[in-house]
Symmetry: C2
Subunit: 199 residues, 2 copies
DNA sequence: CGCTCTCTAGAGAGCGGACTCTAGAAGGCG
DNA sequence: CGCCTTCTAGAGTCCGCTCTCTAGAGAGCG
């Protein structure tokens, strides 16, 4: 076995750096080759296709993110929701490149062209994640009386929204953002504000 | 003067339709030509450049959106925040193609390559919008004691987040979403939840 | 009816990017 | 030391996209 001169993560890191300078179409194979100072042979040995490279970038980011959050699902539901929100913010601050990948959205990564392997990996991740989220939503419904759409908005979408403003502008995520997100989640889940037209 | 066979909005509508099928790089001039059933001469007669076309698409969407919201800034600040959130949701439901343009984000539209004219137009819009938002934030700080980051999150980013989930999946925006957004905004701005470590 | 001016049509040049192909470097193993 | 297998190198092909260019269609106007 000959030396593995370049690490695969080197290539993905270069791709993530390109993403930071623009949108997903800034990730060209030619660009990655330049940015990572690697030959096209090396890239195509690992990734048969640009779509396969994008898939690896996406899956790596998702796995890093989910691995960080899975341990937090155990608590009492409102506490879990708060912890998830806080940790989402923290993870984004600590992994801005991966965070940008996720905030760019799967749709930009040509999922239709992914090799089966990548697609299967993603679907397995997604199924596991969905199970956790669904259970949390169920528990939160019982604990707070909110509906599904409202819970998803507050628990899932709100932390992403908090962070998107800073990541897409390339600015630092403020230190106070975890507290702000916590307060928003907590008050939205527990405050006594009737919906229009009744409780 | 000869007949204006194609309307400019026909071309922009075709571009918006392409955006709906993928990310912003799905908007190619060649693709717009096919989608709108128009000759390349017609397109390049109006838009000297792909970037100019993207600029027109962006500016049209922004102007439609802002025109809808400007009248709502007059009220008492919390009421204005709620009204803005509700109307944002409604506008997105009524204009899903334009909404996708905005949610895709300016960064995907190559603003660096825009012709000066488009850039000036955008900057004027943006300045006017920022003035309105800044005044609202100031008033909300006084009325609620929240900080800038928190207000922006709840008033600006939260309604976008509420809508993004549905638009990016191509699903209908639920009829109840306005009420959900209203409740989230209201409770986040008025609930008595201390920030960690004080207040 | 011809002249002009605006707009349309569509062929094709030029370019950049995805991907292929061949030559070869380097470790393991007899 | 030779051979196999894995990985690297980089030139070259092909394709699609942006943009250009020329020919011409159709309205207004004298």
């Amino acid at each position: 076995m000959p030396r593995l001169v370049h690490d695969t993560s080197t290539i993905l890191d270069a791709a993530a750096r390109l993403l930071a300078t623009g949108s997903a179409d800034a990730i060209t194979v030619a660009g990655v080759i330049r940015e990572a100072a690697v030959s096209s042979g090396s890239v195509y040995h690992r990734f048969p296709t640009r779509a396969a490279l994008l898939a690896a970038l996406w899956n790596r980011a998702v796995q890093s993110f989910h691995a960080e959050l899975y341990p937090l699902f155990g608590d009492e539901p409102v506490a879990a929701a708060v912890a998830l929100g806080r940790r989402t913010v923290t993870w984004c601050r600590d992994h801005p490149a991966d965070a940008r990948v996720l905030l760019t959205g799967l749709g930009s990564f040509e999922p239709a062209a992914w090799p089966r392997e990548s697609r299967d990996l993603r679907e397995a991740d997604q199924a596991r994640w969905d199970r956790h989220i669904r259970r949390l939503v169920t528990d939160l419904k019982a604990a707070t009386g909110r509906g599904t759409a409202e819970i998803l908005l507050v628990v899932v979408d709100l932390p992403y929204a908090a962070v998107r403003r800073y990541l897409s502008a390339g600015r630092e995520i403020p230190a106070a953002l975890e507290d702000i997100v916590e307060r928003a989640i907590r008050s939205a889940l527990t405050a006594d504000q009737p919906l229009r037209g009744g409780s």
